[in-house]
Subunit: 259 residues, 2 copies
DNA sequence: AAGAATTTGTTCGTATGTATG
DNA sequence: CCATACATACGAACAAATTCT
């Protein structure tokens, strides 16, 4: 890496138009190689200071390199702890019981969710695509709760979800739900077992908010799933959720019978 | 913004635990406000140096603030020129009226399809994600047929599909299939009834080829579905297909039982 | 349980390279 | 050629979160 720095020497006679890539990209490339060759998911990278010393560059430069890897979904950082190699894409099976957290925990993955935002929405301000799934009664009442959650797997944000919830069925959901598994909370507090009725599949580009939460680049592709959840055995739609997830981190899967 | 900096003063007597956000975020917020209030798309921001002076912070700090705006898609930077407010984001248009809803169970059975390309592939050149689903026997044989089809609905191209087909089971598929429903052709010619075993869901950005065939912009989001097809009742995988479809034209849907 | 050590996060400063007009 | 503006890189110091002792 020191070759790169020689560029800064003030030798007048050398018309070196090296046109090399910036150091931080070279370091990022080398780090990525190191990770592939000698590190497993979950391993911690060497500290920024050590890496800086090893590559003979400033700590800022290393930080910028690592930032590239974060953007690429290869590592995650945590203050006070370190920089951790992330496991490969995780496969997630779509089935009628939409219990995200539970399903993943059963896969042996640590999963959790935090609340990013919540509010009460006038029904008229609910996206039309969502409105259509709620029935007249709810429509008359005029309000829905919107809860935005961010879901993590192994401390990596993978999925930003807008939940639209019927206040008729779940009166204080926007205050009582404080994170974790939403469906479990609903089941415990309201004794409703929810089940998926339908899922719509689409794709979008990450906007500013999504890129911020999901730690991905603006305009990177996201899988968009809209799922309709109703009370088991009934036709009453209680929740419509719209999720945006990073395809590089989360691979949805559908299995057809036979299993 | 200078209040923020007073935090660094070494006044021992003030236990100010301001708990404020980092300066770069405060500056970013203020900049965003400025842009909304007094700048039009296309306008250039003040230079980093001026902004640094105005906010009383280091230029690095301003750079980091602006970086936030870049990530959020609010501005773009150009070396030697300046930082420009971006024209109102071109909203990705979901065309509600002209959208086709398609159930995944019917995928691959559509009638109108044309062949874009076909060839025999050495197994080693098959994408790894596809390779893994074919068993040893096919692997030994060493070749797969790749057929690329473009599917239309109402004369609009909606879906570009790469079919990877086992030549062991479908010896002359690459010459005998001439368009139309692929699964029907396979059923008629080889008496194999295919059934879908699994679907993987992802999202990508349209590349040159895809945008050409699908008549969409390069880098527009596409739904990517990989489906694994085997002979009904057996475990033998005969076809793996990877489809890219326009979410504005084609809405996939999964229904869970109860239907 | 308290404190030290470690690691990432933020901010300042300075210098030089490179693209634009 | 020159002035301007962004890009890269170095150094130093302290803050904040986590882990270890």
């Amino acid at each position: 890496m020191n070759d790169a720095m020689s560029k800064r020497n003030t030798c007048l006679d050398k018309p070196v138009k090296l046109a090399e890539k910036p150091i931080y990209l070279q370091v990022a490339y080398q780090l990525e190689l190191d990770i592939k060759l000698s590190l497993k998911p979950g391993d911690l990278l060497d500290s920024e200071m050590n890496l800086a010393e090893r590559f003979g560059v400033n700590r800022h430069t290393v930080r910028r390199s690592i930032e590239q890897l974060v953007q690429a979904g290869i590592v995650v950082k945590q203050q006070g702890r370190g920089t951790q190699v992330v496991s490969n894409q995780i496969e997630y099976l779509l089935n009628p019981s939409g219990k995200f957290t539970k399903n993943l925990n059963e896969l042996g993955k640590t999963a959790h969710a935090i609340i990013v935002d919540k509010r009460i929405l006038d029904f008229k301000n609910v996206p039309i695509k969502v409105q259509r799934y709620f029935d007249e009664k709810t429509h008359d009442q005029g309000y829905l709760a919107e809860v935005v959650t961010l879901r993590f797997m192994e401390n990596v944000p993978v999925c930003l979800i807008h939940h639209y919830l019927s206040l008729a069925h779940l009166p204080d959901i926007h205050t009582s739900y404080l994170g974790g598994s939403l469906h479990q909370h609903i089941s415990e507090r309201f004794s409703y077992a929810l089940e998926r009725q339908q899922i719509n599949i689409s794709a979008t580009l990450a906007d500013g908010t999504e890129s911020m939460h999901l730690k991905c680049a603006v305009k990177s592709p996201l899988v968009k799933l809209q799922s309709i959840n109703r009370i088991r055995g009934s036709r009453e739609v209680v929740e419509v959720s719209v999720s945006h997830s990073r395809p590089d981190r989360l691979q949805y899967q559908i299995d057809f019978k036979g299993e």
